[in-house]
Symmetry: C2
Subunit: 388 residues, 2 copies
């Protein structure tokens, strides 16, 4: 384990009706905000009305930026920056899933940046010290963006999906009302479950083998996903299952199971290529990439970690042969994704030819050297081929 | 699950040498602090010297209050308040385990209170809005006080050990350097492991049965204690084991596995009676009380939770009879405590007669109605009798 500093300052308001708590938090910073959201779902699930009510009650005026797409695009960021500047807004409220929250962060980090926002995003972090405070109202459990420092923004013209990260982007407060996620369709609910599990995997499979407290808590989070994810998918108004998925999502990515681990991530960068070229659903892309990646990196150097995963998470008999445990664990992971309706091949994602494999793998040729198992272009190609 | 607001603002600096980060954090608040510590161990394990170095480097002057006893006493709180007032100090650095940190919190919450500090403590929370910032340098993994809102103070004259809690008492930053705990004797290391497990139990055994994410992460924390606790006890300079115990300690008590659960605690109040009358080591007292409490409350109403505990934490065969699983889980808990050198009877704690049982149970007659299983005086008496 490496030394680390960990800070999780977001104030979390959890439960039915908790959006009412938000206005007071915002009023401590500003009385003029940008409200960022996606499609019409936030108007159907009640989140929009609840946020309007708490803003009004606390004397906060707002300007709206709706229509944020999944894999939020740089064009929306530009639009939000313009609205903030024109209307002299002092904060941003994101209402939705990770896309709206990520978009809000990218806007917040660039309103007071005099250069081009895409340049700052490509540099990976804000290029100004003056950041607008972000407040998040979550309607879909997946990215953990509501309590972390990351935003991921896509530029479809350049086929780039890239991360923009800094502690200053961590939301000031977050509302998690599980009832808002009742109307999330099964497919996106399942994609969220996969995303949460993938965030856990990205840190669990680590070169540091001594993160015992981290890894046992990570296993608990994975088990919660495996137990309650299918309930949320099949029984969408089950409060406890929706609550479990919302509650577990931030803790596997806001640092608790990651801090002190040095590895770069593996599956997310590969999936980001798929999203950047094909605009696929992020969680669905991860469901395709993850089992293929696991099989590709399974070796004498990694088998013990897979055994730990298989025995502790999937309760596979610890007395079996190591590789049998490891392969069974990977098979079970893939079967689980299928069981909740996720694709596990690229063809199912709608990618029916290999034309861009070389280009996508080439983009990652030099960026996965720090992953759990270092990978080059050939590794990415092999993972995509096996997932086809 | 109940609605809740959760905030964990403490900035955690984790790892060898991380005390060097503290001075800068303190300097943002004050340049004059009270340094609170226990016996000579902080001078032997390097923590004292490291804190002095970071204070000097950041131009911070300090006054010392050493000699804080375990089960910190109200007299030390009075002394600290006096030192802060006489020397116009603007913050408190606690160096040690939970006792020093708890004492620092009680001082911090009363320096600007014009009334008597014990009166405020008996009211359960600060009676003034002006609280000094607290900074914690942890040398012993146990109470989680370094990242939570609680302090427990004893008044041996009145035989009262009571909690003083508020969000304003949460430390601003905490240093966890696992090497500081290398010199903690096996007995106190083990007592810390029991304390961490007990904090987990107090929330895990809850009337709310739908805290799926909470409970799976709690089980992970318990497994980490069971796996790495004995390593820390038997191989005291094992960095990874010391790190795991330090790291897991705050998360089971700072809210993540508790938020949204309504129950009051069970074993801690009973142990606080033992400490208040006999000044026993808190973790050792919990090792005695916990298995006895578990056996006392096992019933048709609770057996399913014990089955969950037994199967998920102790890996007991889920196909066995429910009560067999539950009783085996309790036996294994008790055996585990014994295996790390903890007492499991009151006699081993040095309490060799029952003279005060009635008085201690009487003190709790009306305060455990909100526990996981509501208890009255007779229940406490039965638990003490069975633990004798």
């Amino acid at each position: 384990m490496y030394n680390f500093t960990l800070s999780i300052p977001t104030k979390l308001h959890f439960g039915k009706g908790q959006a009412a708590m938000l206005g007071k938090d915002i009023a401590a910073y500003t009385n003029r905000v940008l409200m960022v959201y996606g499609g019409g779902s936030v108007k159907r699930n009640g989140a929009y009305d609840d946020v309007c009510a708490t803003l009004k009650e606390n004397g906060i005026e707002w300007v709206e930026l709706g229509g944020i797409a999944s894999n939020p695009k740089i064009e929306s960021v530009y639009e939000g920056i313009k609205l903030c500047r024109e209307n002299d807004l002092g904060g941003i409220v994101a209402v939705g899933g990770g896309s709206s929250i990520d978009c809000a962060k990218a806007i917040a980090g660039n309103v007071h940046f005099e250069g081009d926002a895409w340049d700052a995003i490509m540099k990976g972090r804000p290029q100004t010290d003056k950041i607008l405070p972000v407040f998040a109202v979550l309607t879909l459990a997946a990215t953990g963006s509501e309590m972390n420092r990351n935003a991921v923004i896509s530029n479809m013209e350049l086929n780039i999906k890239t991360a923009f990260c800094d502690d200053v982007l961590i939301p000031v407060s977050a509302v998690m009302d599980p009832t808002y996620s009742y109307s999330v369709p099964a497919y996106y609910t399942a994609a969220g479950v996969v995303d949460i599990m993938s965030h856990t995997f990205e840190n669990y499979f680590s070169r540091e083998t001594d993160g015992y407290a981290h890894d046992r808590m990570a296993e608990g989070a994975l088990i919660a996903c495996i137990q309650q994810g299918p309930v949320a998918v099949n029984d969408p108004t089950n409060y406890a299952a929706r609550a479990a998925m919302m509650y577990v999502s931030p803790w596997v990515i806001n640092g608790i199971t990651r801090a002190g681990k040095s590895c770069g991530w593996s599956c997310h960068p590969i999936e980001h290529e798929l999203s950047a070229y094909y605009d696929v659903c992020h969680g669905a892309g991860l469901a395709v990439v993850t089992p293929s990646w696991m099989r590709h990196i399974l070796s004498d150097a990694t088998v013990d970690k897979f055994v730990e995963y298989g025995v502790n998470v999937w309760k596979i008999d610890a007395n079996l042969d190591k590789y049998e445990i490891a392969n069974t664990a990977i098979d079970k992971t893939e079967e689980f994704f299928r069981s909740i309706g996720m694709p596990t091949t690229l063809r199912e994602l709608g990618i029916d030819n290999k034309d861009l494999f070389d280009e996508m793998a080439g983009n990652l040729a030099n960026s996965l050297g720090n992953a759990y198992v270092a990978m080059g272009k050939d590794d990415v190609l092999a993972i995509l081929e096996a997932a086809f």
